[in-house]
Symmetry: C2
Subunit: 466 residues, 2 copies
């Protein structure tokens, strides 16, 4: 029996069981699995155990395996032969600060009404990536419960350090290689084109994330006694960081754009047709003018062009009122989104050299490496893409778009390098999901139709010519 003949009862089952799917997602969302903060290490372990326990109930051979950091889950279930896919997700979430901007406690999930009437699931991780990974788990559950099996062989691997750069997961992949073989990988950590248009992401930007700390005097100083005579590390830091962009929004690091190619004319034409406007993209976040390179389209600025952002800065007195201090040090977190042709190690070195060359006498800089991922460009012609695209189009009633993403999912490069696998990136996030921000949400519709989409995609993969 082809899996497609079993699809409709599976979809019906998903609809009928949706309240329970939501309850299972809520249980996962309640666990404070913030990977960046060591204080939450126990919660990360709890999230891994909880999720592994749930997946085991579907008949997967499931293990929580240690890494040098937070643990990972490996779960395998044989289907009806044919293709074998490796599904990847992450159970860790971003920190929640600034907490005072949340409208409700970030780890007490609830379905609420969005301003425009949409039903949304609100919680840290509602989208990224707990909500997204549960769309896949729930699709598997529906297949198992209706047909007693899966339409193809599936290995699920879920890590707990994606939000902090997957440093320990990459060696884990290498060490667990034999249990992670498959025909290709699936990742559910990306978005739709818009609320009604499904998408498959075919390129991802890379990420170099560095921290720089400028040190001057051996202690904090009084600006009345030393002001004018002593180096101020905030002055030094702002002077250097303030020079990273020129008046046209170009990044000034020497050689930064070396190897960066323009989009092929046909892709550029296709992207122009998508008509990403400041009105549609920036207005919802309170902005109106693209802030990037002045000679590029907005869609290029946010997906195919490299960028530099200062993600955090701190130094001196930042409490209420005033203090006439010249601090001993100041620091900033600086990240670069990279595109195909740029080498992360080279960009990092260029940045550090740039800072170091601009340090005045008496100042020194210390650097900390936070992430290091190259850009990804997938093969638009890889076979599973067509099947996934067809399935998405059927579910959403609208052609699925092949799009570039401005974000980074470094693991995709590691799947290729370590496991030899290409990846199909399908996800149901929306631009207004507030991921990494207060009030993260996932549309209830994304969660429901996401589960249905995966049910269809699994079927399409099983039936597709290999």
């Amino acid at each position: 029996m082809s899996s497609s003949s079993q699809l409709q009862p599976v979809l019906d089952r998903i609809d009928a069981d949706f309240d329970n799917s939501l309850e299972r997602l809520f249980a996962l969302l309640r666990i404070k699995s913030i990977s960046a903060d060591p204080a939450f290490a126990g919660d990360c372990k709890a999230a891994a155990d909880h999720l592994a326990g749930d997946i085991a109930t579907l008949g997967f051979a499931t293990e929580v395996r240690p890494t040098a950091g937070h643990p990972a889950i490996v779960a395998t279930s044989n289907g009806n032969g044919g293709a074998h896919v490796l599904f990847y997700g992450h159970y860790d979430v971003q920190p929640v600060d600034p907490l005072n901007l949340w409208h409700r406690p970030p780890f007490e999930p609830a379905v609420t009404d969005h301003a425009d009437g949409r039903k949304i699931i609100v919680a840290r991780g509602a989208e990224d990536d707990k909500g997204q990974l549960m769309t896949f788990v729930e699709a598997c559950r529906a297949w198992k419960s209706v047909t007693g099996s899966l339409p193809l062989d599936i290995t699920i691997v879920i890590e707990g350090e994606e939000e902090i750069g997957s440093k320990n997961f990459v060696p884990f992949l290498e060490a667990n290689k034999k249990d992670l073989h498959a025909d290709f990988a699936l990742v559910c950590d990306t978005g739709m084109w818009d609320r009604n248009t499904p998408a498959i992401t075919t390129s991802l930007r890379g990420l170099v994330y560095d921290e720089v700390r400028i040190k001057a005097a051996n202690r904090d100083l009084h600006s009345g006694i030393f002001g004018g005579g002593a180096q101020n590390p905030i002055r030094v830091l702002t002077r250097i960081l303030g020079s990273l962009h020129d008046d046209n929004g170009h990044i000034t690091l020497p050689g930064f754009y070396d190897g960066v190619k323009d989009l092929p004319p046909d892709i550029l034409a296709q992207w122009k047709n998508l008509n990403l406007t400041p009105e549609s993209f920036l207005k919802p976040i309170g902005l109106s003018i693209p802030a990037g390179e002045k000679d590029r389209l907005l869609i290029e600025q946010v997906s195919s062009r490299p960028t530099c952002d200062i993600n955090g800065i701190i130094g001196g007195y930042t409490g209420e009122g005033s203090k006439t201090v010249i601090p001993a040090e100041a620091s900033a977190k600086v990240s670069f989104r990279l595109v195909e042709g740029q080498e992360p190690a080279k960009i990092r070195k260029t940045f550090r050299d740039y800072v170091t060359a601009r340090l005045p006498a008496d100042c020194r800089a210390e650097f900390t490496d936070h992430s290091n991922a190259p850009a990804i460009a997938l093969d638009w012609n890889m076979k599973p893409l067509a099947a996934a695209r067809r399935a998405l189009t059927e579910e959403w009633g609208k052609d699925a778009v092949l799009m570039g993403s401005g974000a980074s999912i470094p693991i995709v490069a590691d799947f290729k390098k370590t496991l030899g696998l290409d990846t199909v990136l399908v996800g149901f996030g929306l631009d207004d999901d507030n991921i990494h921000s207060p009030n993260e949400k996932y549309d209830l519709r994304s969660f429901h139709k996401g589960i249905r989409s995966w049910a269809r995609i699994l079927s399409a993969f099983a039936d597709a010519p290999r």
Copy 2:
């Protein structure tokens, strides 16, 4: 009987009672009177009550009087006629952060050994200004206890908001004018020239302290989705603040140096002779090269030239690890030390205009005014100066220096404007006292000889021709 014939027993009394003087200072240092933080308002009140109680025991008619902020103390005692002085000090102290850099709890004072063997009093406020103001109170105590009276009429006024700009104290001066008349004012909140050389401060820099907050998007954004397309307020802030100085250390605000005069040649020659070297001034704080205007002496940079310092900056994610956020806002505290000829209101407006003119589309700036004080230049020929100088020279066995200070004591301008009083500024602080920093200290010798100095100065004032 002239007061000078009574001086020696008073000095002997100070020596004999010194352990008790120290204990009384410790009792004041234990009170957490941090004026900047509303959480410590009760402690500020407690410090005022405690100090007023102590001063009342010396026979001063003493009152704790409310202001619109923390209360002030007014205490008066008639002496043997003749001159009438108004002594000013402040019981409030700076915040203590970063607390982890203190070697002992900031409000548990102790006498410890400095690295070079000096005995030092360590606590927040040990110097600024509790230690300093207590030198005067203890000198009065010694006069009273030995002679039963003071050598001249004294009014003591002590405020609790000096560290936050004395905003409520200035109207208080106006409202309490009739109780604050005197021939001239005394302030003990300045330093010695060096460890062995007493000094009278004859000029003070002014202070404009502003806070700027740059706002962009209506929420924190994910740099993967929006990076390149959305304004980053940290980028905007660093770009603007990083341009406030040029390569030669000059401040770039248009018209900033208008009205600033060079030192008269004779003063410049005198200052050159003081030989303030990077070796003596910067090496103890771990620096070696003057950071100010390249065409100025170090002593000019720190005392007679105007400056700009960024005292604090914050924005985005500043916790452990990394977060790919584009924050909705970023802010900085920026202060300017001003010299004679510069108008605070004009400098503030110039700064705000400079920021506003450089804001890109989609960004706006909000400003908060923290202080606003003009520079002070005292009359080097005012009569009490000679008497004070002679008394200091006798106590320390070395000629007292008339010097300019880089710091700001805004109240001195208000004494002139509101009460018509000139001020004599005498203090016993040292450059390594770490005021406003962790591990604030006051040399035990400063405290002891400071009390003796005031005892001599009061006598000299009483005997001086008026």
